[in-house]
Amino acid sequence: MSVQADPGYSLSSERLRRRKVVNRIMEALATLAALLAVAVLVIVVASVVKKGIGAINVDFFTQTTSTFSFGPSQSGIANAIVGSLVIVFFAILMALPVGILAAIYLNEFASPRMRAPLQLALDVLNGIPAIVVGIFVYVLLVLGSGQSALKASFALAILMLPLVARSTQEVLALVPDALREGSLALGAPRWRTTLSIVLPQAVGGIITGATLATARVAGETAPLLFTSSLVGNEVNWNPSHPLMSMPYFIFAASEQADPGLQEQAWATALVLIAFVLVASTIARYFGLRSRRRRSGKR
């Protein structure tokens, strides 16, 4: 990887000026690209805020909605918020233990030869499109027995698993061996060491990882199409029924002609973005703080 001795690096002022101009142009293009990305983000968020804020009021959070513009009048998304909460809650319940245990195995028990293919499997699972996971859950669970929020949670849990496992593993690897050795030297069994000594050190990182994974799947729509799309318009906490969710509501309402439904879709998008952004920011902030503290302590 050596720098090539290139006639371009000459000192003749004509060439130098040209090279400087090219450099300026490239710098300008790079800056432009960054500005473009920021501009797009600002435009999207501004659209959502501008078009959605009008519908946000107390009613919005306490009344219900449906994707059915001829039905009873709807002015709020309480059922969608509740449904999303239930679905994501159970998804976390399913993915978190498996993810943490998998990370423990990969970091604490697996031999390096075992670790590589298992990590590869996790990373490949991460890249499976959500729609394929949706088909899978549909064929496996929904065909013949109907939709339910739990089946939607299962699909989301599959999407969350690699994220939780990966972030937990990273934070477990940061726990110094000295702690483990000390605990074992004092006679504690391995399981005690892992659960009472190593894991608590990693709690901050686990929460960060779980929060980021939650933020990612809270907005996933594709698996919900197959598992929780035929929904009623009452607030329903029962996870064995299909439940309305925020992403599905946005999806269905986005294609409707009714401007009232469209405004509600924007408002729901606003709530969803707010949740995702707040969760991601908090998670990253805490993750950064814990990393700084850990390196500071050492």
Partner: protein, 325 residues
């Protein structure tokens, strides 16, 4: 993307394997072992179930399915040709636009920007990645689509009307071009965050050496940063491609469910993922449903190849870098 390296003899795994095994240890080991293999089991299960669902269609059409461009529920002739074309066209164009932009952003954030700009702008670009795809689709239908029809399409038509990609003008908000734009917005943050990490990991001595020899910053980037990060950049682009190919929701919202193969970006089209999302619940016959799952098989195979490839490149790059530092 870096995996924590652990050398066997002194790692916790080795610690745990020596000495006596108690019941609690076996229990924990057993539970974590099962969890550790969960991803493998899921991958196998997913592949198996999806293949099983496509069996009827496979038995009817075999590999001809891939080249058949008709999707006709009346005559019960189904084929993936149209969707493979649409997926390829939109994803490749998205990558062509997103790739350079993402790399430029990564360069800006690692080489050009003063330190006080890097954190906020970097965070904003990451935020773009966390916007849910359904929200981008909503914005695409109601805001971007009309803008493309009224403003962007005439410009592109004037500039590139001589190519087969921008023939005529766009009359409807939904089109392959709209899909390309939305996919670009999704792919840029992914590629740029990977490239950012790559460019940060380029050894400073190499960069400073080039600058000391009189290279301009751009020449240094072109001569040091790019060659060093070449493999990683390709992995990033491959992952971005995987993301673009797999996106179902936002694409189905803006692509318009077109039915004919057309190189014209202004016309409607359809992709593998978007067709599945649109039609899955309403398949009329078992053959139609099975054919939709067959489309899913193609998506699955493609994403498996893309991901394994990208991950292998990433691991090779990580190993090489650890060898150096």
């Amino acid at each position: 993307m870096t995996t924590a390296a652990r050398t066997a003899p002194t790692g916790p795994a080795a610690l745990q394997r020596r000495g006596r095994f108690r019941f609690g240890d076996s229990l924990l080991y057993g539970l974590t072992l099962v969890a550790g293999f969960a991803a493998v089991v899921l991958l196998i299960l997913i592949t198996w179930k999806v293949l099983a669902g496509a069996k009827l269609s496979w038995q009817t059409f075999h590999l001809g399915f891939l080249t058949e461009t008709t999707w006709n529920p009346v005559t019960e002739v189904f084929g993936a040709g149209l969707f493979i074309f649409g997926t390829a066209l939109t994803s490749i164009f998205a990558l062509l636009v997103a790739g350079p932009i993402a790399i430029a952003i990564a360069l800006f954030l690692t080489e050009l920007a003063p330190p006080w700009i890097r954190a906020p702008v970097g965070a904003l670009v990451e935020m773009l990645a966390s916007v849910p795809s359904v929200v981008l689709g909503l914005w695409g239908i109601l805001v971007m689509g009309p803008w493309v029809v009224s403003t962007l399409s005439p410009i592109l038509s004037t500039l590139f009307g001589w190519t087969p990609f921008f023939d005529g003008e766009q009359t409807v908000g939904s089109s392959q071009l709209s899909a390309v734009l939305i996919l670009t917005i999704m792919v840029v943050p992914i590629v740029s965050s990977i490239c950012r990490e790559l460019f940060t990991n380029v050894p400073t001595e190499l960069k400073e050496g080039a600058l000391a020899l009189g290279a301009t910053r751009w020449e240094m980037i072109r001569g040091v940063v790019f060659p060093y990060s070449r493999a990683g950049i390709s992995a990033a682009l491959i992952l971005g491609l995987g993301r673009a190919v797999g996106e179902a929701i936002a694409v189905t919202q803006v692509i318009g469910a077109g039915t004919k193969i057309s190189f014209n970006l202004f016309s409607t089209g359809d992709t593998l993922a978007s067709k599945i999302a649109a039609s899955y619940n309403s398949a009329g016959t078992n053959l139609e449903r099975s054919s939709l799952v067959y489309l899913g098989v193609l998506l699955l195979i493609f994403s498996l190849i893309v991901n394994v490839l990208a991950q292998l490149i990433v691991r090779r790059v990580a190993r090489r870098q650890q060898g150096r530092t």
